[in-house]
Amino acid sequence: MAEPRVIIVGAGPAGVRAAETLVAAGLRPTVVDEGRRDGGQIYRRQPEGFARSSAELYGTEAARAEALHATFDDLRPKIDYRPGHLAWNVADGHLHVVHDGSAEALPFDALIVASGATDRLMPVKGWQHAGVYSLGAAQIALKSQGCAIGRRVVFLGTGPLMQLVAAQYRKAGAQVVALLDTSRLWNQIRALPKLVSRPDVLAKGVGLAASHLLAGTMVRRGVTPVEIFGDADGGVSGVSVRLASGRDLRLACDAVALGYHLRPETQLADLARCDFAFDAATRQFWPVIDEDGRSSVPGIYLAGDGVRTQGADGAEIAGKLAALAVLTDRGRSAPTEQISRLRQQRRAMERFRAGIAEAFPWPHHLAAGLADDTVVCRCEGITAGELRSVVHDKGADEMNRAKALSRVGMGRCQGRYCGHAAAEVVAAATQLSPAVVGRLRGQAPVKPLAIRTRRAAP
């Protein structure tokens, strides 16, 4: 039997473990990643010439980061690694990539998409001002460039990453003005039965929360974001929220890190025509997968945070399982014992994921309360009022129609940062469930291509 051509998109924890598993079975997979270096998000490698230690960069996860980087360095000669390659479409058994303005179509028998996540955002009035960054951006500035996003930083939103990044900022010497969290302690306590499925991670989370209190950092839970103040030229100057007590709090700052946990990057799965289903707990559409990561389309496998937000350890397990599924489906002998052990570990990851979603809930109720002049689409400055008007005046009660008529989701981020919130705005305006309102369909190219893209010489 000819060797199957396997392509992996993503050189993060999921993609690297998938590649390792395939190489161990004697295959030579192609690994495509848009980034210049491997590591993905959490284990992002700093540029050559930077000198901070793994302990400084990755904290408690330093050993795991080093292990993943070492694995990848070993794999390099055994795989076809394509850094700096954006995968922009999947069609007719080919993955379409572009590198330095030059396009190429790579044929595959099996495709493992391990594309990771981006921040999940809910708009707040004023979030278009310069100096408002996604929470992930705040971390990347520090991890990969040694910079803080401002002098006085407010963290606004919710999710496990918020506590972590704020702690990393404080440790690096930045001034953390406050953590303003929309979740309540009660949410976290109620999620405990699920969170104890990973006691070590739970303990780290509790430790992080305690570190903010010990450091005397202002932490407020159960807040309702009201406005990010600023002006067109100078950017952010402050934040106001309504506290759980009903009182208003206004803080001066020159940067805001904003985020509500993560959303999977599912565009490639969409372009490959994988089935999606609505997850009522997190109120988003996800590709349907089996316990090993097989999608509804034969030959397309999905792994890591690009399909379920299980975090880095879960991504490593999912990457191995997806690769083993490829091997099984291509008629190679599969180590059944290893597969059942990995599946069992994955179930604990899934239980923990569900716990995190409960502990730091997506505040969908905020969408209904967004003032009409709040910008929903940062790319093109389209407001909640403009979006609501296509619902009320033109009967656009489905997301793709609302997009066509309002342009929300058509801008250069292609709906990554407005799509979930826009669906909630439409759902609230129509009194329909977001399951009925639907989702923005992924479109090729998954990111804007350079103006002058040419076909690579054969």
Binding site: R36, T118, A130, S144, G146, A148, I149
Partner: protein, 105 residues
């Protein structure tokens, strides 16, 4: 904050060789390994102006996903500042050359 005031603050890795780049005709000292975004925002408050609204923009995601950080070369090519590393002599514009953008009323 004044638009001329730097937005980002360097907290580590400051001991790197400098690299001269040119922004709107003015030479700026970046550090080797900087992204274009960091090189500009450690010197200024923004990267560009929004073509759809009044605000200055300074990037949003830093992970090549939002496309808020576009800058331009003199040939009109777009650069994504957050994942473009600086190199000596790189010359960029905060507005596309000779291309008037429609401003939304």
């Amino acid at each position: 904050m004044s638009p001329l005031q730097p937005r980002f603050v360097r907290l580590a890795e400051t001991d790197r060789p400098t690299v001269p780049i040119v922004v709107d005709g003015a030479t700026v000292e970046a550090l080797e390994g900087d992204s274009l975004l960091v090189a500009v925002l450690t010197r200024a408050g923004h990267l560009r102006h929004s073509e759809f609204g009044p605000e200055a923009r300074a990037g949003f995601c830093l992970m090549a996903a939002c496309q808020d950080c576009w800058m331009w070369t003199h040939d009109g090519d777009r650069l994504r500042a957050c994942d473009t590393p600086v190199r000596a002599g790189l010359s960029v514009l905060t507005q596309p050359p000779d291309m008037p953008w429609p401003n939304r009323a």
